[in-house]
């Protein structure tokens, strides 16, 4: 059961904002956000833990709604460098799954000048 991301793709102009959502049908323990550029490795952006703790990128924010089992990634004042595929990775087993992440299908973000 993989988390479901929406939208599947977003096209922006520089300076515009975007929100990417990640929903799970199972109770989440943590949500990890990564950005992957074509042909490169995923790069860590943000981790949100059950209970509200957040760690991550200074220009990107995220929320974690435990009741809805959903996380949202907020990209504000987008830059060309934000282009890439954004994946959420979820951990379900109360922190005992030793870091196993189940990734969503990805959201392709394209920022145009």
């Amino acid at each position: 059961q993989q988390p479901v991301q929406s939208p599947q793709a977003v096209i922006l102009r520089e300076g515009e904002d975007a929100v990417i959502n990640c929903s799970s049908s199972k109770a989440l323990y943590s949500v990890h956000w990564y950005r992957q550029k074509h042909g490169e490795a995923p790069v860590f952006l943000m981790i949100l833990l059950k209970g509200g703790e957040q760690k991550g990128h200074e220009k990107i924010s995220a929320s974690f709604n435990e009741k809805k089992q959903q996380s949202s990634l907020y990209l504000t004042a987008s830059q060309l460098s934000y282009s890439g595929t954004y994946f959420c990775g979820t951990e379900w087993n109360g922190g005992t799954s030793y870091g196993k992440l189940t990734f969503g299908q990805g959201t392709i973000l394209t920022v145009h000048p």
Partner: protein, 113 residues
């Protein structure tokens, strides 16, 4: 900045052959992972490794696969008797704990012909 390094960057092998993918995780990290990504698809968890043993594995990680930490620095993924469908980008990752950010290597592109 410390990074996860993987070798080789690209491996071509004939169907039925064995391959070993190598990784050097970040030196003070305790958790190690292998993920794979078939071209154009999402990142899929294969296995996590902690305290010199497998802590979790996915249904993809069958008897064809094995992992090893032969010394204090390397972490390897062995694929026995490769199949065409094993062609993918294989990422190694490491983290300090099971609930902190995982850092990904640049990947090994495995092509089975």
């Amino acid at each position: 900045e410390p990074e996860v390094t993987q070798t080789p960057s690209h491996q071509v092998t004939q169907m039925g052959q064995e391959v070993i993918l190598r990784c050097v995780p970040i030196s003070n990290h305790l958790y190690f992972y292998w993920y794979r990504q078939i071209l154009g698809q999402k990142v899929e968890f294969l296995v996590s490794f902690y305290n010199n043993e497998i802590s979790e594995k996915s249904e993809i990680f069958d008897d064809q696969f094995s992992v090893e930490r032969p010394d204090g620095s390397n972490f390897t993924l062995k694929i026995r008797s490769t199949k065409l469908e094993d062609s993918a980008m294989y990422f190694c990752a490491s983290s300090w704990t099971g609930v902190t950010e995982a850092f990904f290597g640049q990947g090994t592109r495995l092509t089975v012909v």
